[in-house]
């Protein structure tokens, strides 16, 4: 362990649903400034790992901590340090963007001028001004995703966990989200799950691949590419995730 820079620490993390082992003894850590691409085929256990890390799902075995706080025994403290965008970005459709972000800010402990400021910063960062007073259910998919994003960064968290943040977005929107992630990367630890490989070379400083709940690769995107003679990420990915 190298002290304060280690923002996320996962040791022997395991999740079993009855007979199915969704996540099988995974160990890795993420430092400040790192953008970790969390890769794997659909159903590999990416979302399950993220759900345990954010305190949504109980852990079967092993340990996970965020900023030194165990996600189970110090759940509330660890959640204060995490911004989470769940898969599909679920939101309260009947609320306006303004009301929704106001609610999140209040739950996060902001009030008054501080609350306004945190909302303004997030709205500006994600370009939500045009939809600020509209009900979320009337927004386009891209805007909904951005509202979900705004909710996750509202409290300027040390750790950002984004479950398929670009899934279902058009190429322009994907580009925007990636640019946003890059601008936030320097002072945070960011974990992005995806099954789109181009994403890894575009934004990530490190890649972790899991297949059938097991960790099969942990290294830089370059190291990942160099494992294939063709230097195509697709080939390496297929090789790593199908032989198990």
């Amino acid at each position: 362990m190298n002290g304060a820079d280690e923002m996320i620490s996962i040791q022997g993390l395991t999740k079993r649903f009855d007979a199915l082992t969704a996540v099988d003894n995974i160990t890795f850590s993420v430092k400040r400034g790192e953008v970790l691409g969390f890769l794997g085929p659909n159903g590999a256990g990416k979302s399950t790992t993220m759900k345990m890390l954010t305190g949504y799902l109980p852990i079967t075995a092993g340990k996970a901590s965020v900023c030194g706080y165990d996600v189970e025994s110090r759940a509330l403290e660890s959640r204060h340090h995490v911004g989470y965008l769940p898969e599909g970005a679920p939101l309260y459709g009947d609320m306006t963007t303004r009301a929704f972000l106001g609610f999140i800010a209040e739950v996060r402990g902001y009030s008054g001028a501080e609350k306004q400021h945190s909302i303004e910063v997030a709205v500006k960062r994600l370009g939500l001004e045009p939809v600020y007073n509209r009900p979320i259910e009337t927004l386009s998919k891209g805007f909904k995703r951005r509202v979900g994003f705004a909710q996750a960064i509202l409290h300027d968290p040390d750790v950002l966990i984004l479950d398929e943040p670009t899934d279902g977005l058009d190429p322009n929107q994907k580009f925007q989200v990636r640019e946003l992630i890059k601008t936030m990367a320097s002072d945070k630890a960011i974990v992005i799950s995806t099954h789109i490989l181009e994403e890894v070379t575009a934004v990530c400083t490190r890649a972790v691949i899991i297949a059938n709940g097991k960790l099969v690769f942990d290294g830089t995107p370059e190291a990942l590419a160099s494992r294939s003679p063709t230097r195509h990420l697709d080939d390496v990915f297929r090789e790593l995730t199908t032989k198990h």
Binding site: K51, G55, Y56, E77, L91, M95, E106, V107, P135
Partner: protein, 244 residues
């Protein structure tokens, strides 16, 4: 608690930002009025009291309260927002209580809006306003009992219709346990203390006492412990069904 208050505000806002609140209030006022005048023979009785109004409350609540409570958790689970909610830095019990109190406040608003009846009866005669006040309090407390059952059962399923039906049935059993129909089923073979226990669980028995204008500590303790138990189970159910 700050969290509880923030949740109450959001939930109450959600009622009034959708047609739900207005539909519910209109139907509640319409039905309770119709029952009072046409079935309860408010005028023909020639008595200056609101018994013909309050007597129908246990039956009215039987299907109106599950209609309010069914969405409390089932909807969050269906849309996935429960994941957002439970990964915020709030303890689960605070969310359960916040949602519950918001729904209860909403019912209280509907109940308060029946005040024209109170004005009518005061205009026509000289009723015992103390009795009317305790009846209102008793009705609200009984609504709280129904609501706790409904909230708890709403967390069991993702399907609001199922939540509605099982809540209505559970409330029906609690309501009827003091009535001849249920009692005669046990009479003859069950020992007296079982009969007494079942009878003492009945909403009707306790509500009848309060609506006569008597606030007995036993009735308050009964409803308070019923609400406490169901909200405790509710919290446990929410935690157990995470991710399910």
């Amino acid at each position: 608690m700050r969290y509880v208050w923030v949740i109450i505000k959001r939930e109450l806002g959600a009622y009034f930002s959708t047609p739900l609140a207005y539909v519910f209030i209109c139907i509640f006022l319409g039905l309770s009025g119709a029952l009072t005048f046409f079935v309860g023979n408010f005028f023909e009785r020639g008595q200056a009291d609101l018994n013909s109004f309050f007597n129908f409350h246990p039956w009215l609540y039987l299907f109106l309260i599950p209609a309010v409570s069914m969405r409390l958790w089932a909807e969050e689970r269906k849309t996935g927002t429960v994941e957002l909610l439970l990964t915020l830095p709030t303890p689960t019990w605070a969310v359960v209580i916040g949602k519950y109190l918001a729904a209860w406040t909403f019912i209280a608003i509907a109940l308060i809006l029946t005040f024209p009846l109170w004005i009518t009866v005061n205009y026509l005669g000289e009723p015992d306003n103390g009795v009317i006040l305790t009846s209102y309090i008793g009705s609200l407390i009984m609504a709280g009992g129904y609501l706790a059952i409904g909230s708890c059962l709403s967390a069991v399923t993702k399907n609001q219709v199922i939540a509605f039906i099982i809540s209505a049935v559970a409330c029906f059993l609690f309501l009827m346990s003091g009535v001849e129909l249920v009692q005669s089923f046990f009479q003859g073979w069950a020992p007296d203390f079982v009969l007494d226990t079942i009878r003492s669980l009945s909403f009707l028995t306790h509500f009848n006492v309060i609506s006569r204008g008597v606030i007995d500590l036993r009735d308050i303790v009964y409803f308070a412990s019923l609400i406490g138990v169901f909200l405790y189970v509710n919290t446990a159910v929410v935690d157990l069904t995470r991710g399910a």
